[in-house]
Symmetry: C2
Subunit: 213 residues, 2 copies
DNA sequence: GGTGATATCATACGAACGTATGAAGGGAGT
DNA sequence: ACTCCCTTCATACGTTCGTATGATATCACC
């Protein structure tokens, strides 16, 4: 019998060029602020290409959002697997990996923020990815609580406290540089910021203080 | 001698109506997604009103951003003053007040996120407000470190870890409801979320574990 | 009561928008 | 060689955009 067709998340040729160009422009100028003319021009193709390959500008947008979020899944899973057995170490690995991923995909925080901001429905594929990631972090915390290394509390809510930090601090990058003189473009500063978040998260999760006197 | 004129942050009459209408619409649909026709119609005035009172749509936007952020200053200061002497309690008061303020001004996180997302310069008045608030939280942490109740670490970076949580969790409100089934519109759920962040922040700051066994 | 400043109004203008349409390319299979 | 089918292209259409313009309204003040 027929399956409801999943929207594809991998593209090639002109469609991939469109996704890439659109992703950069949407992140910079938002959905309404980006014209199909700007996208097709940046993708080096014709004005009609979006209509042909995706049907409409909005369908292209949804493909951008879903495909941008999707790679986080395996990236996070790999990070957790590579870390040791101690849940606190896994959490730290997750935080560092999240920071790294957002560094490599600097357009992701703007895209997410815009999507969260707009009244348009969140694409189902994106919702599934978010939910999966939060769930992974939450079950990792539950594991730590079971083993006694993490303090009690609602593991899902604790996961949100953690996830908020890399996203928001990356999103606010420019404001932090201009307003608080914290420049994440400087690798040294950035390393200190990431370390500070890691320390905060470990302290926020741990059942007993680590390395404190 | 002449001062460089500060842009005014309080408005009345038609100008105030325009600010209010624009703020709601910008938060919902973004800058580009909001037309001057929609704003003037919602404000119950004429198409030409924005040009007359602010000169341009963008000037109105900057007035919206600056005036929306400004009230946080005294609100936070009052919250800290009302809390006890213990810095950890002041930090908790700040977190709760931030959540409350964002609840009352639900359009603020979208506005901030859109501004951070866009390549347009951040209005100087907004930058000053942000910087002042982070500075207040940071010096509160430094105070706690000096008195021994908070763990060591860069107080400014720790302040950012804290500030990120209310903002992002409020911004992601819809995604949390649809994707993780955490509905902040339910007062009970919301209280548990706020309490969880408070616990996380206290644990993240404290030099010694509080109420843990 | 007329005069000038301030504010509001209806309307016009050119530019940019998303999408539709149909013609032109370009290989694979016969 | 010819026919499909997929893709790319140039162009046109109707709409909406931000701003400019000039007329009208309101009201304090001499």
């Amino acid at each position: 019998m027929n399956q409801i067709p999943e929207p594809k998340l991998a593209y090639d040729g002109t469609a991939a060029d469109l996704i890439q160009a659109a992703r950069a422009l949407f992140a910079l100028h938002g959905y309404e602020g980006t014209s199909v003319r700007a996208i097709t021009q940046r993708a080096g193709t014709n004005l009609g290409a979006i209509t042909y390959h995706f049907g409409s500008k909005r369908a292209l947008y949804e493909a951008v959002i879903s495909s941008a979020l999707e790679p986080t899944r395996e990236r996070f899973a790999a990070a957790v697997a590579a870390a040791g057995d101690e849940p606190l170490d896994k959490a730290e690995a997750l935080v560092r990996t999240f920071f790294d991923f957002l560094q490599e995909n600097a357009d992701l925080p703007p895209l997410m923020a815009q999507q969260l901001t707009s009244p348009e429905p969140i694409p189902a594929a994106a919702l599934r990815t978010i939910s999966g990631n939060i769930g992974m972090l939450a079950s990792l915390i539950a594991e730590g609580q079971a083993s006694g290394s993490m303090r009690p509390g609602d593991s899902r809510l604790m996961a949100l406290s953690i996830a908020a930090q890399p996203i928001w601090l990356t999103l606010a990058r420019r404001a932090l540089r201009e307003g608080v003189a914290i420049d994440q473009d400087d690798p040294n500063t950035r390393a200190r910021l990431v370390q500070s978040v890691v320390d905060f998260v470990r302290a926020g999760l741990a059942a007993y203080p680590e390395n404190r006197e």
